[in-house]
Amino acid sequence: MTAIMDIRKLSKNFGGLQALKNITFQINRHEIIGLIGPNGAGKTTLFNCVAGVEKPSSGEIIFKNGERSESIGGKKPEKVTSLGIARTFQNIRLFDNMTVLDNVKIGRHCRTKSTFFGAVVRNRTQKEEEEEITAHACECLEFVGLRGLNDEIASSLAYGNQRRLEIARALATEPRLLMLDEPAAGMNPQESRNLMDLIHRIRDKGITILLIEHDMKVVMGVCERVVVINHGEWLTEGAPADVRNDAGVIEAYLGTGAANAA
């Protein structure tokens, strides 16, 4: 297995607070890896550092795309996206007042080029590009199971579908690595089963997935490997079943003494 991402000694301080301390782990190509930990452990901060929203205080994030490997720590988020890392948000962030199709079309932004001249003159290149954008966007929507909802306004979709739309938008950027921040939050069991199926299908397309999730059923159901962090520190990693029985993990979630009781 070759690694697609190598996180080395990553630290992030917010003033006096150390949100991440020397986190080191690897993400392998084509795997579904879960990032878990109690609330406030630093999961979303880690996401933000990788996505370029936060600048790491120290440490390195190496992204290996094919032959090239590049340090992305501190790179701007739009640059990170164009390198092939897409994300969704913990609290859904769609373009609420645009149609479903337009939301996904915007996801194609980083893979297309035309600007003012193309928009006004509508030359052949621009027209072809526009057709390609629409076709690819429709494909993404169909893939996540939102066929036939193209012209709906994004905010009018049901909650589960909004989550799917956000994933479709992320897929439209043609990522190599997809980061999902609590995709199953607020879903009923049926919806999360469908979500797990979707995550598997995304992986089958050759996309690596990094997942933050609190719903243990989902984590156990889809993740091949789990990294646990607590108080901003790497705690353990391994197969989901092993991690579940790890004394340190139980202690982190339930407090000292719980491990003995269990």
Partner: protein, 347 residues
Amino acid sequence: MVNIKKMTLGAKFRIGLLALALILPALPFATDYFLHTVILIYLYMVLALGLNVVPGFNGLLDLGYVGFYGIGAYTAGLLTVHFGFSFWTIVPLAFLNGALWGVLLGAPTLRLTGDYFAIVTFGFSELVVLFLTNEIWLTRGPLGLPGIEPVSLDLSLFGGPRWEFVGEVPYYYLAIALVLAAVFVMYRIQDSRLGRAWFAIRDDEVAAVSCGINLLTYKVFAFAISAAFGAVGGCFFARWVTFLSPDMFKFWESFLVLCMIVLGGMGNIWGVMVGAVVLVSLSEILRELLPLLGLPVEVRFLGFGLIMVLMMRYRPAGLLPIPAVAAQMRSGRVRRKKVKATVGLNK
């Protein structure tokens, strides 16, 4: 051939409006004063369409639009007076000059968010007025710049006649052409990759960035295009009234154009044009009406203020609102939160 029966009601309505606009000068009540007012409406339509790009498409408050209008007007005026450039060469030059100043102002300041950005643009427009007033060697300062040649169309290169624009009618059609060009460009942008990127920025900056949109580049781009349209408007203005003075470009003008787009419906191409029609004609009507009531003409500014207050109370998203702006007006607090969340991104 276009089949009239197959057209939608909206398209018929638009064609009807255009036809009416085209035959307007031939109608019996079309005095010079009347045409002058309508030309003013068209000029403000172009300005409003240009300004609309920044607050309407991108959700950024711009209080300094008149600065670019002034830059365009003086670009046209000075080039005409000193070098005798023709109007048709000046329009693209003014467009580029406006865009240049848009970039020069936008690139450093668009990193600011919300109100801070608005204050900078306000300062810029004041700066332009001060420059025009004090750099007497260039602009003749408060004396103004008289004797700008009117527009002429010289077809002698192709063996045609040379045609001087005299009276209001030729300017009337020139103004229509400018409005049509502006509407055309805005419509095409609205439905393009560029337009979508702007709307994404307006809706949610964090999500826009995660789709690979470079906020600063696109905001500067919006600012430059908006400024370029302002400059083209100024260029028409200079060659139309043939006299410029710095006090024509006071802050009040920025505010008036901003009122038009707020009144008509921010972000809506038709809305901002309706805003221009309403405010310019209202201004003219009040100018006639107020003396009859024994009130000074300046009272009309109070009228504008009253209209804006009533609009904010009853139709905050404008006469022809678009859903995005309406939603933001409904939940002002949510929007503030989103702005805060982006502070980290703009560093």
